[in-house]
Amino acid sequence: MTLLEIRDITVEFPQPRSFVDMLTRTPRPALRAVDHVDLSVERGEILGVVGESGCGKSTLARAIVGLVEPVGGEVLYDGTPLTFDRHSNRRRIQMVFQDPASSLNPSMTIGSMLAELIAYHHLRPPEQVQDRCEELMDLVNLPRRYLAYRPMRLSGGQRQRIGIARALALEPDLLIADESVAALDVSVQASILNLLLDLRDDLDLTIILISHDLAVVRNVCDHVAVMYLGNIVESGPTAELFSSPAHPYTTALLAAAPSFDGSRPPGNARLEGEPPSPLARPSGCPFNPRCPLADDECRTVMPPLAISDGRLVACHKPFASSRQGARTAGPPTGE
C-alpha cells in the first residue's frame, strides 16, 4: 500500500540579482534543486535516496516534511494532499538530521526536550508524559537516567539516538533519515542502522534513508532511487539495481565505490569532471556532459522516467552501460 506519493514536485531557490538587473526588472534567476520528481513510498519499506552532494536529495526530504515549499507539484500522504502551511498535520512525517550536535537544543535536558514535544501535540495526558519519555529512551536503547542530561554530555552516537527518540516522540508513520549516519564512526554507524531496522519492524515505520554512501543503502534499503542534478535518474529494488544498473550514472557510482576486497582499482569509474552547477543545467539529459554513451539525442532531449525491463529509468539507452561493463564503457582517460 502506498503511504506517500510525490507527484511532479519542483523546488526552486531564488538567487540574488545584480543592481542593474533589479533596475531593468530582469526576473530573479532561480536555482532548481528538485526538478519534477515523482516518487512513491510503500508502507513499511525502507527507501534509499542516493546521489552526490548538490543532487537535491536533502531538498526533496525537506519538501516532504514541509521545511521548504515547492513551486509545483504535490505530496499525497495516505491519499490526501499535504498543504504547506504551518498548521497542516505533518506530525506523522518526522525527520532525523545529519548532525545531532547542531540539531539538539544545547540548553535543554533530553527529558524536557521530549516532554515539550509530547505536551505541545497533546499526545499524552500530563501525568503520563514522564512514562512516555522513559519508554522512548527504551526504544532507542539508552539508559533512562540520560533524560536528566544535556546533549553535551553524550557521544555522537548517543546524540543521534536522541535525535531518533525526538522524531519518534510524535509517533510518526514515516521517518526521514537525512544522512543520519554520515558523521558517525563505523562501529557506531552499524548500531544506528540496526536501530532503524529494529524500529521499522517493531513500530511498523516507513523510512526514507537519504545517503551518499552506497554501501549503507545496499545493506539497509528495500528500494533505491538515484538522484542526479535534481532528477531521479533510476529507481528499483535494491538487489536488482545494484546487480544490473540501468542508468550510466548508477553504473559509474557503483564502479566508483571503494571495494573492500580490492576487486576494483582506484580510478575505476572513468568518470570525468564533477556534477555541473544546478544554475547551469545542461540541455537534454542532465548527465550527458559526463556520460560515456552520450550522443546527439542525449544532448538535446531530456529522457523521461519510464519503465524499461521492470526498472524505472530516465535514459535513452537503458542498461547499455551495465551490459558493456564499467571498465570498457568510457574512452581511456589517461588516469
Binding site: 552526490e52 552532494s53 557521544s155 552516537g157 564512526d185 563505523v186 562501529s187 557506531v188 554507524q189 552499524a190 548500531s191 542502522l193 540496526n194 531496522l197 551518499h212 554512501d213 552506497l214 554501501a215 549503507v216 545496499r218 545493506n219 539497509v220 535494491t238 538487489a239 545494484f242 559509474a252 557510482l253 557503483l254 564502479a255 566508483a256 565505490a257 571503494p258 571495494s259 573492500f260 576486497d261 580490492g262 576487486s263 576494483r264 582499482p265 582506484p266 580510478g267 575505476n268 569509474a269 568518470l271 570525468e272 569532471g273 564533477e274 556534477p275 588516469e335
Partner: protein, 331 residues
C-alpha cells in the same frame, strides 16, 4: 625492498590542567619505497596525531616524549632526522579539508610556486612553470587558465588536486595523506584515489594514507596498520589483515562495515561500548572491555606486537580465539 620511512616507538603526550594524557603510545610504523601504508582506526585512535608528530606539526601543548624518525637517504641508509628539517622537503602532507588548507588570498599558481621556491633553488619563472606543469600532471583541466584562479573558485575535487600538486612541488619521497577523500563525493573520491595511485607508481612515492574507511584501504594500500586507543594493534600486508584478521578489533571493524558488492540482508555486527577516554585507558589490552573473546589475563597483557604469520603482527595475546570462529565460516 628498501624502507623509505620508519617511525620507532613514537609517543605523544598532552598536558592540560595538570593532567597528562598520551594519545599516541609507543607507535612504530614503516613504509617501503613505492608502497602505500594504510593507517586505520576510529576517531580518537591517534592516527592524525601520529602524522602530525612525524611532521612536527603538533598542536600547542602536545609534545613528542619519545621516539625516533628515520628517513631513507641518498646513501641508501636510514638516517635519524628532525621532523622540522624534513617538513615539505622529504615529506609532504595532503590535508583533509582542501578549503581551509589553501591560502584564500593567493592564486593557485602562487600557492604551488611558493612551496617549490621555499625548498628548491629556482627562479620565479621556473617555479611558475613547475606549478603549471604539476597542475597538468594532477589532472586539472586547462592548467594555464586554472593556474590564475583563486581557491574559492574551484570545486572540492579540483582543490584537492591543487593540494596534491602543492605537496608534490617540493619533490618529496614520502607523502602523508590525512583523510584526503573524506570530504569528497564518491565519484570524485574515486578520481582522487586513482590520481594518488598513479603518482605513487610513476614517481615511486611512498604514501602513508590515514583513513577510517576500510574499503578505501582495501583499494589503495599494500600494507596496513590498525590503531586503537593510541596504539597499533595489528600490522601486515593488506589482504591477510583484512581477510584473516588476528586482532578482535580489526575483525569487529571489518564485520561492522556495510559492503557495496554483497548485501548482507541482516543486521550489521556492532562493537559494544565506546572507545576509551584517553585520560583513562583500561589496563592491559585496551580493547579488552569491549572484546567478545576477552579472558582474565587480557587485563594484564603487555602491549607487544607478535608476528603470527609472515609480516603479520598482532598485539592480541589470544589470536587463536579469533582463528577458531573464522574457521566456522563467519564473515
Amino acid at each position: 625492498m628498501t624502507t623509505a620511512l620508519e617511525v620507532r616507538n613514537l609517543s605523544v603526550e598532552i598536558t592540560r590542567h595538570g593532567h597528562t594524557i598520551r594519545p599516541v603510545d609507543d607507535v612504530s610504523l614503516s613504509v617501503d619505497a613505492g608502497d602505500c601504508l594504510g593507517l586505520v582506526g576510529e576517531s580518537g585512535a591517534g592516527k592524525s596525531m601520529t602524522l602530525k608528530a612525524i611532521l612536527g606539526l603538533l598542536p600547542k601543548g602536545a609534545r613528542v616524549t619519545s621516539g625516533e624518525l628515520l628517513l631513507h637517504t641518498a646513501e641508501g641508509t636510514l638516517a635519524s632526522i628532525d621532523p622540522i628539517s624534513v617538513r615539505g622537503h622529504g615529506i609532504s602532507m595532503v590535508f583533509q579539508e582542501p578549503m581551509t588548507a589553501l591560502n584564500p588570498t593567493r592564486r593557485v599558481v602562487d600557492i604551488i610556486a611558493d612551496g617549490a621556491r621555499a625548498h628548491r633553488d629556482m627562479s620565479k619563472s621556473e617555479a611558475h612553470e613547475t606549478a603549471v606543469r604539476l597542475l597538468g600532471e594532477v589532472g586539472v583541466p586547462a592548467p594555464e587558465r586554472r593556474a590564475r584562479a583563486w581557491p574559492h573558485q574551484l570545486s572540492g575535487g579540483l582543490r584537492q588536486r591543487v593540494m596534491i600538486a602543492m605537496a608534490l612541488a617540493t619533490e618529496p619521497d614520502v607523502l602523508l595523506c590525512d583523510e584526503p577523500t573524506t570530504a569528497l563525493d564518491v565519484t570524485v573520491q574515486d578520481q582522487i584515489l586513482g590520481l594518488l595511485d598513479r603518482i605513487r607508481r610513476e614517481r615511486g612515492l611512498s604514501i602513508i594514507f590515514v583513513t577510517h574507511d576500510l574499503a578505501v584501504i582495501g583499494q589503495v594500500a599494500q600494507e596496513v596498520a590498525v590503531m586503537y586507543a593510541g596504539r597499533v594493534v595489528e600490522t601486515g600486508p593488506v589482504r591477510p589483515v583484512l581477510d584473516r584478521s588476528l586482532h578482535p578489533y580489526t575483525n569487529a571493524l571489518v564485520t561492522s562495515i556495510p559492503h557495496v558488492d554483497i548485501g548482507t540482508d541482516q543486521r550489521l555486527r556492532t562493537i559494544e561500548g565506546a572507545p576509551p577516554d584517553p585520560a583513562n585507558f583500561p589496563p592491559g589490552c585496551r580493547f579488552s572491555p569491549r572484546c567478545p573473546f576477552a579472558q582474565p589475563d587480557c587485563t594484564r597483557a603487555e602491549h607487544v606486537l607478535v608476528e603470527q604469520a609472515t609480516d603479520h603482527r598482532t598485539a592480541c595475546i589470544h589470536p587463536e580465539a579469533l582463528a577458531s570462529i573464522s574457521v566456522e565460516g563467519s564473515p
